[in-house]
Amino acid sequence: MDTISMRSNRIRLYALTGGRTRPRHHLLVETLISVPHYDPQFSAGLLPESRALYELARKTISMAELSAHLTIPLAVVRVLISDLAAQDMVFIHPTGFVYQYDQIILERILDGLKKLPV
């Protein structure tokens, strides 16, 4: 892709989000997204980028992987996923924010790291 078409593609993606760059939800790169009840009719009515996100999230997937697989900037994925979540069409899984303070989970993480097949 040449520079001009890359740039127009980017501008188009931001236009797609209605100029919004801040999502309503808390979406980190590791935040997992899934589709609780897949609705093919809903999917068919979506714009291509949102439809692609919705289809990929039928299998639980992280924000990072959504962005990378669809080559859509993370900021745009955040806004589009946020919109789908507002319509209750995707589920935003909780992030592990408090693990820094949770000894039991930290033990399990340590245990898992020790058992890695490396």
């Binding site: 808390h26 997992l32 909780p94 924010f97 693990y99 303070y101 930290l106 993480i109 490396v118």
Partner: protein, 205 residues
Amino acid sequence: MGGRGVDGTPIFDELRGLFDESHGRVDAPSRSGSGPRTEAENADRPPAKIVVTGGRGVGKTTFVTSVSDTDPVTVKAATDVGRVTLHRDLLLYLLGTAEPSQAAFAGALGAVVLVDPRRVEDAFAMITYFERSDVPFIVAVNMFDGELRHELDEYREALALHPDVPLTTCDARNPESAARTLQELVSYTMNIGGSDHSPPPEVPV
């Protein structure tokens, strides 16, 4: 940093409330009765996150790649995300990045700062960043050519590293070494978490 909000409620609880709001649907999809689950579906628990950082070319991507289940994905320039399945219900995401940002470190249980033994000064900015943050971190000298040129203590001195911050060596190319480095970080996070009951870091909006 105080542990309580203006009305006396622990900040921790306030944060919890904030999360509940931001999670959209609270009814998790039911997976009972489904067949064998794929790795990505082992998402019953929130995934953990560790940040792997350091100067350019220090081996962040190599480190993340060597210990991840699959090849990491690049979310933007100089930011790679790898996934490690720790248990059936617990994933660990590794975020390799050269850019300190609140969003990158939010929710991370800790960070590994990689040091190039030939260019220790490249790590200064990142170490300063973490010294001022609430994110636990350890420092690992990445041994490119298999051996250290100086004693570890000399690196600590060169990095002006606080005596309490663990300093270790690793070989980012070696999955076992990378995994061991992550273990050291988690052990360190557990140790400081056990004696310190300060609230989680502020949530970036």
